[in-house]
């Protein structure tokens, strides 16, 4: 099961813990609803769902490997053609995708790192530390999830031009350095995975809070941090509205560069599809390698939502 990857690291438990503080998942009765074996109809429906999910991506590949006449014929082709590499190369140049890729990696990487760091810090404080106003502040965090960040684009745009950041990456990075969903996710995880006894033991040994965070919390939080990193990376890579407003074509992120392909006067469909394929490849690669962990992480964050 996916919860497997979410157990605290064994090394951080120097002595067996009382049963009460152990993650309770194992002690639950077998999961509800899983008692029924799937019948052929279930497999058939799931197969159709998987096909619908994957077909557009498969077809992107088909179109990207054909030439324009082949893509626009009727009936459309269902098998890949011979022009894949050639089209990818052309799209790479036409849409300035090289620069866009580099920009997207920088933006998504920095945002994911800072989100994970600050979310773990704040999540630990909300989960395990006692301080005045804790509950009200936590409610505030949850409340901020409801505020769509895009609504501030007009003043943000003015701020960025005041700071001289217009068309530059910091303009995209700074507004999304933290995430309320991330804080909440880490709080939920640490409340369950980090035993109070460990924090207390650190206190007894005279460690100050930052040291406890560094030596005790981080090792326990590592699996959740990895998942939060990936999910944030996906979101930051795909973010569109604000980057589209504040960046221009001389310095775009991948989604912004892709609009250039479709808005052109030359309607070369196979090139457009090659660009779309390139823009999604890094994330697809991540999904192929870490799909199980990402699925587990999204499900983990959902419980008690």
């Amino acid at each position: 099961m996916t919860t497997q990857s979410f157990r605290a690291h064994p090394d951080v438990r120097p002595h067996p813990l009382p049963a009460a503080s152990r993650p309770r998942r194992r002690l639950l009765a077998p999961k509800a609803g899983r008692q029924h074996h799937a019948g052929p109809v279930t497999y058939l429906l799931l197969g159709i769902a998987a096909l619908v999910s994957l077909f557009p991506l498969y077809w992107t590949m088909v179109a990207a490997s054909s030439d324009n006449t082949r893509v626009t014929q009727s009936p459309p082709p269902f098998l890949p053609g011979p022009h894949l590499l050639e089209n990818l190369g052309k799209a790479w140049q036409d849409a300035a995708l090289g620069k866009a890729m580099l920009n997207s990696f920088i933006v998504a990487g920095v945002i994911a790192l800072s989100t994970v760091l600050f979310a773990t810090l704040a999540g630990f404080a909300f989960a395990k530390l006692r301080f005045k106003g804790r509950n009200i502040l936590l409610m505030l965090v949850i409340g901020t999830m409801m505020v769509p960040p895009q609504l501030g684009v007009v003043p943000l745009f003015m701020m960025m031009s005041d700071l001289g950041w217009g068309q530059r990456l910091p303009a995209v990075i700074f507004p999304t350095l933290v995430s309320a969903v991330g804080v909440f996710f880490m709080r939920q995880y640490l409340a369950e995975a980090l035993p109070d006894e460990l924090v207390e033991a650190g206190r007894v040994d005279g460690a100050h809070s930052l040291r406890i965070f560094w030596s005790i919390v981080l090792p326990v939080a590592r699996p959740a941090m990895a998942v939060l990193f990936m999910i944030t990376f996906v979101h930051a890579w795909n973010d569109f509205f604000w980057p589209f407003i504040v960046l221009d074509m001389s310095n775009p992120t991948v989604p912004v560069a892709l609009t250039q392909l479709s808005a052109g006067y030359v309607r070369d469909q196979s090139l457009i599809m090659a660009g779309a394929l390139l823009g999604t490849l890094p994330l697809l690669a991540m999904f192929i390698v870490f799909g199980r962990q990402i699925v587990g992480g999204i499900m983990q964050g959902a419980v008690k939502g």
Binding site: R34, Q35, T72, A125, P149, V154, M158, G202, N238, S262
Partner: protein
Amino acid sequence: MSPDPRIRHDRDRPRRRMLLHRLDLRGAPYAFIAPFFAVFAAFSFYPLVYTGWISLHRVELASLDLMEWVAFDNYVALWEDERFWNALFNTFTIGVISTVPQLLMALGLAHLLNYRLRGSTFFRVAALTPYATSVGAAALVFTMLFERDFGMINWLLSVVGIDNIDWENNKWAAQTAISTIVIWRWTGYNALLYLAAMQAVPRERYEAAAIDGASRWQQFLKVTIPGIRSTVIFTIVLSTIGATQLFGEPLIFGQGPNGITGGADNQYQTLGLLLYEEGWKNYQMGRAATVAWAMFLVLILIFVIQRVVKRIASRRA
């Protein structure tokens, strides 16, 4: 845990240590949560409030520092602007036809994934793959699938004997196509949220229902659905917020200049597109801010209405 040799135990100065320790206990939590609140205040909360202030002014994109006070003129103009009502209505209809089927299908998919399966990881990752596709790429692919002359969807329809549909220029067809992009991207994600909630429903409840003679369908209605209620509400809130801000899909679907206006007759212009058009095509930042603030008010209104409806419904029950 053994005492860490690296931590100094200076017993000579116990009072100072006590002070530092208390300072640490009191202050550290605030230091830990400070970065989140600082960034949020600077880049989310302040802009949101400031948007309201800007909306009371006339500001041009070319001269951002010149703000001319016009009080509620922008709001009056927006209220009298047909494009605003059109965009509001479009946002609402696209929101409904993308959210309702999406969440219902997610519920069904979660139920299927909840069976004891071979290859369950594959089915889950497959369901989540669209979520990893960027708005840009997804919109480009679907725009092509919905092409009038050579798109695969019209070809499939012609196989069953339906004439070509002009997906871009027909209002309802365009809105359906745009909703399809949203549904494709988010159904799997929501299904996984539901699946997680379903697996947390205690098994005893199912057993109790079975002993009472409930069929599987009744168990689904009476045990599963109430068991995942909070998650369902959570996804409705998130999808509603997402629908209000719909922007990338219609923009790219319009392929170029038509994208910003949401089609030649604004037939699929959403509030997000209208905001962009006012600010960055007509260079009227004050009016763009007015649209943003109107979007916010619409969201608040939706949730207030939802609260009221819930209260009336619970009183009846």
